[in-house]
Amino acid sequence: MSLFNVCSWWSAQCSDPGEEYDVASLLCARFGLEAQEKDYIIVGSQTGQLSIYYPHRRGYDATDLLLETQMVAPILGLYAGKFSGNVRNENANQLGVLLPNAIVIYNVLAIGGLAEHGAQLRLQLQAEHKFQRVAFGLCQGHFGQVKGREFFCVVHLDGTLTFYEQDGISYECRFPGYRALPAPVAYCERTDSFFRFSATWDLQCYSYQDLSHSLVTKSSYQPTWTQCVGEGIVDMRVVQVKENCSYIMILGERNFISLDDNGKFNFMLKLDYAPKCFHSFVVGYYWEPGARLITAIVSDSSKLHLYEEANIIWAAQWPRQSPAPVAIQRSNVQGLAGGIVTLGAKGQLEVGYLGADPFQFQVQPLNMEELSFAQAHKELQQLEDEIKEAVDVRDMDALNQQAADQVRLSFSIQPEACDDLDTLLLDVPADVAVKELPSAKGLLRCKIKAELAELQLAFQMPNGIRCSQDTLSFVDVAAGSSHEFKLDFYIAELLHVHSFKVELVASFVSPRGIPRVIQQSAHLPLSMFYRPCQPQKAAGIKLTYSITSRHVIPKLSTFFGEFLEEHSDAHALGLQLLCPGLEKQSEVITVVAAKNSNRIRIQSDYVETFAMILERIVERTLQLDSSAGLIKMEKKKPKKGVLNRCVERLMAAPFIPAQPILHRIDVHHETQQSIRKQTEQLEDLWQQFKSLQRQLQEQSEGEPKEALTMQIESNYDQLILEGDKLVEIRRDERKQRCDLNCAVALAKWIIHALNLEERVVNVVSSVLSVPIEDWTELSWEESMAPGIDMLHHFGPLTRSKSTSTHGLLDANASSKDSFDYSRFRRHFATLFDRIVRLASTPAAINTAEVTAQPAAEEKPPPQEQQLQQQVDEIGNMQRMLGDKGLPLAPPKRRTNMSSSLEAVEDDEEYDEDDLREDVGYRKDYGATDEEKNPANTKKRSEWVNEDFELPTTEELFSDLGIWW
């Protein structure tokens, strides 16, 4: 197939150059004015301009316009036919002009002149039928197969039909069905029936007899047949192709469809373009053999496709590239038989013909210099370099450095909280404003060193905190410009906050389209969230950290300077959470520093109070240590078996308050469940609401409506009630999510400082990422389940040795099942359990020994023995970790471990039992620890996977996208 041209033969611009024309604006017809008459082209615009053209020859002459007049209303359609009986001339057609509120029938009269410019046309009003309803379209034909006359019916916007049969006689009729949307209606003379495209995308056929009967008797009737077309349609047309058959040609939005008049599909052709308009016609006479059905379809891209039935036989392109025509007709104008008459949306009227030269895109030859290879090569190289530079990500550090050079950010938050927040200006909710919580002031300076196409600065804060500036975006930033923003950070919701870190993400696109992202973070002052209070002696959850770094003084003032006076020697600090600040309970956390050792104990009854305190301790320790600059935290990929480097600075006692954390998860899960239930209930009520509404619609006018109205009202009340409940539950859910955030963050910070293999810490930390996220389809639990499951079966935390195949099967099985919460919870609990055990192993043995023989032999040898054992232990552990070649951990570490033993003596002021036990909840899981050595090792071999060389571990984790 080739593509050819459509050549222009005659063209004119209709007098309104606006976008005022559509598929119904064009009509080619004869009026029977002279003997050798050819087609007139009539155009009616939506502004009411009616023009009649009569092309005489190639090219437009001023005399080709025969009449132009301005109607009082928009023209919805133009029709020609024998609409009137009182006409002398048998061949004469009348012109019907459909306006929104009337159909006007004109006789067209011609008065000849001596010259072409002397001829004139007149429109003589024959009849005007006014409607009560606004018109949508018109359908004409020899209804009832009358001869010599044409009737028409007007389709109104409400879907009713008005028939005009004889002059001045009209009937009104409705199609069956409840919702009659206005839809195109076509008439088929052969079967004397009407086709209507219904709102349900069905093509329905109604016999004229049924319709006209219903006019008289008001009886109900059904379509003769219905056929589903399955898509919206652009246009529809009925063509008689044989003596005994008519085709309904339908141009759908994606398909070209043909049905015969019995509703049988003739063909359905999928179009690979967006169609705009079409015209179907028969070449030859339908009562003779050899008549062929031809269809011309115009595509959105100004191409004309000709089909014989469903086979494409020609394709041509309008060379002007102008927007595609909105209407097409085939017409015999004077001097051109079979002209292609098209009308553009802006009134470009054209008569064209098919060109025999293939379509070629012709551009005038340019006076350009000869392309030199060397130069082109150089240019290509340059381009490639540019591209390479933009997409090369091998050296991320350099890229980030470069990005940071381009946009220099300095983001800081004042370490003091302040109280002068303008709550009105910042639109803080009343329940928060009333608490007069402290806020923080920040400052952001950014200097832009290179020109940027787009720059976006976004702040990321924990839930409940808001910044006075939302996301900042800039377009076309000039190089050298600098901005400074004063920021206010404040609490906008009474929620538990899990972190006091604010992240600033600057993403920008250079003029060449290269995207870069840089990040900076700053910390909000803790005094925004806590206020000092009396320390508590006892508490439910107790955690211990040992500061092992030499550069950090293990004093409270190191960590919580803002709450203590300078050089204060206080050993205990009580802090009370300000937010949410419930009246019933005051959430107090107590931090105690050991007098003689490097340990810090944190204790509270509430899980939510811990996250920020732990974050402060860990971050501050690491920060002070690295600023002392002795050990650098290189960002190397952790090797297998390398111990958590964090431990060199501080170490947490191996205890995770698993029960309270799991409790938070339980609560969160329950709320998720109830949200689901509530949504389902709402859905049911909504369905009920819809069906009641439909019943109301469908009820005929005479029936009483009271019962139905009552039903609707009660249903509506219930709908509102349940909706309010859902809102309430969602609010709860948000609170619980924040609580859970705090709980998960707590676990994360403990694990961060546990004496574990570094990659274990990394994996677990990445699994326990905060803030947690709930999606409508997937709750946090469900999204976490596969990850936890994997941790359960594979990797360093695996329980049994022969897991690889078994575990895989298990994982597959579980992925098929729906989410099993109890299983998830179990796994979560065991995960914590194992981490604690793994981390406490070396210490645990020591503790066991010490507790076994403490009082009896309190002399140095055991110390040595202990040391000996410790070496053994570490050797053991190394073996356990499966990396025999690895050098032993530095000796310093060993002493640290032993010092954790000595620390037992320190904290006598506080609950001694607790200290001996290390921490509270241990008892629940600690059964194995109580037992003696031989048993211990046996047990250990059960749950510690001695052989980490699982074949699939690495791949599995990398497949899961967990950072290893």
């Binding site: 005399t63 009449l67 046309l121 013909y353």
Partner: protein, 389 residues
């Protein structure tokens, strides 16, 4: 109708109006083009830092938006310039292009497709100022505005017959139009029995419309009048107006009684025609400053949310079918030869053969050269359906 051609006394030859070509042609490199504007032609807007990317890449120039055409001239080389008449413009739009120089920065460009003498010209005027702020500003808006105004003001420049210019017996007055006189009882001599109507004489045009049928009318701008005379006709002395070639070259005859009134009107028309010739009004009223302010105000509202627009970016699609069968190749080659010949013979559209009705396709079609069939052109590749059989 106009049998006797005896010239009446007092008929001086009319001053010939300068032929209006500016809006109807595309011209290249006319010396001093931008300095020689036509009388009545006004520059409505200048757009600086514009390059003609197709013809003269690398030259910075400026666009002049006049009321008749678009002029681009290079500020680097004096002889390079372009003149594009509005009547020849087929399609215009703006697009984002990536400049050849200046680091392939994206910048705005005005695309124009013009068709003159059956030749398609494509122009691309690119903003080479390099200012990123201009990228999102509608710097070419005046071109579109003026072009639209040009399309809407054809009554100032073109003859219109039987148009919708009269409503309820009153002529619809154009902006800037002043009616000088109205003459009733004017017979239009274009038909046997004659049509009685009225003249309306204004500073721009002469309008006649029939009393009985207001859609039968003539709106004739002075621009399209080639000559005005009073001649003897079989109906007595008549006002004869010859329209210009661009106005169809019609001869219009009108009779007004008594002859004194005719003479009076004739004198009035002659002087108006002369005055118009000196200071023609092409009907386009445009104030670039105002328009800019309007745009700026509108942009301010819209600019609250800068957004990415898909339509500003052109999708590159270079899939064009290149496979052509042998027969079609030779057909094409012959076609080219034919074209070369016809160019030599200085032929244009009159020379072209008339289209004929093609029964296979059901539409009018250009005649296919002897020895070829429709199928030869269409079936470039053997259809698979046939080979299966």
């Amino acid at each position: 109708m106009l049998k006797s051609l005896t010239q009446m006394d007092g008929n001086q030859p009319q001053p010939q109006l300068q032929l209006l070509w500016e809006d109807k042609e595309v011209k290249f490199d006319v010396p001093q083009l931008h300095k020689h504007l036509r009388s009545g032609e006004r520059v409505l807007d200048y757009i600086y830092h514009i390059e003609d990317s197709k013809g003269n890449p690398g030259d910075t120039g400026r666009l002049m938006v006049t009321n008749l055409r678009l002029i681009w001239h290079s500020l680097v080389h004096k002889k390079y310039n372009l003149s594009i008449g509005y009547a020849r413009i087929g399609n215009t739009n703006t697009r984002m292009v990536h400049m050849h120089s200046k680091g392939r920065m994206a910048s705005q460009a005005l695309y124009i497709l013009a068709i003159s003498n059956e030749t398609r010209f494509e122009f691309l005027f690119t903003d080479v100022s390099g200012e990123t702020s201009r990228r999102d500003q509608p710097i070419f808006s005046s071109v579109f505005d003026v072009y639209q105004l040009y399309q809407r003001t054809y009554l100032y420049r073109d003859l219109k017959l039987r148009g919708a210019i009269v409503q309820a017996g009153q002529l619809v007055i154009l902006p800037d139009e002043q009616v000088f006189s109205q003459v009733q009882g004017v017979w239009n001599l274009s038909s046997d029995q004659g049509n009685l109507g009225s003249f309306v004489v204004s500073n721009i045009r002469l309008v006649w419309f029939a009393d009985a049928n207001e859609t039968f009318n003539i709106s004739l701008p002075y621009l399209q009048i080639e000559s005005l005379r009073i001649r003897e006709s079989k109906y007595g002395p008549a006002l004869v107006i010859q329209t210009a070639e661009t106005g169809g070259g019609y001869v219009l005859g009108f009779r007004i009684d008594p002859p004194e009134r005719l003479n009076e009107l004739f004198k009035e028309l002659c002087s108006l025609h002369t005055i118009y010739g000196e200071q023609p009004n092409f009907g386009i009223q445009y104030n670039a400053q105002d328009a800019r302010q309007r745009l700026a105000a509108a942009a301010e509202e819209a600019a609250q949310m800068p957004q990415f627009k898909v339509e500003n970016f052109e999708e590159l699609d270079e899939r064009q079918e290149r496979e052509i069968n042998l027969k079609l190749n030779s057909y094409l080659a012959e076609g080219c030869l034919g074209k070369v010949n016809s160019v030599n013979g200085a032929a244009d559209q009159d020379d072209r053969e008339d289209p004929v009705y093609c029964k296979e396709l059901g539409f009018a079609m250009e005649r296919i050269r002897d020895g070829y069939k429709l199928q030869d052109l269409w079936n470039v590749m053997p259809t698979k359906m046939e080979t299966i059989e």
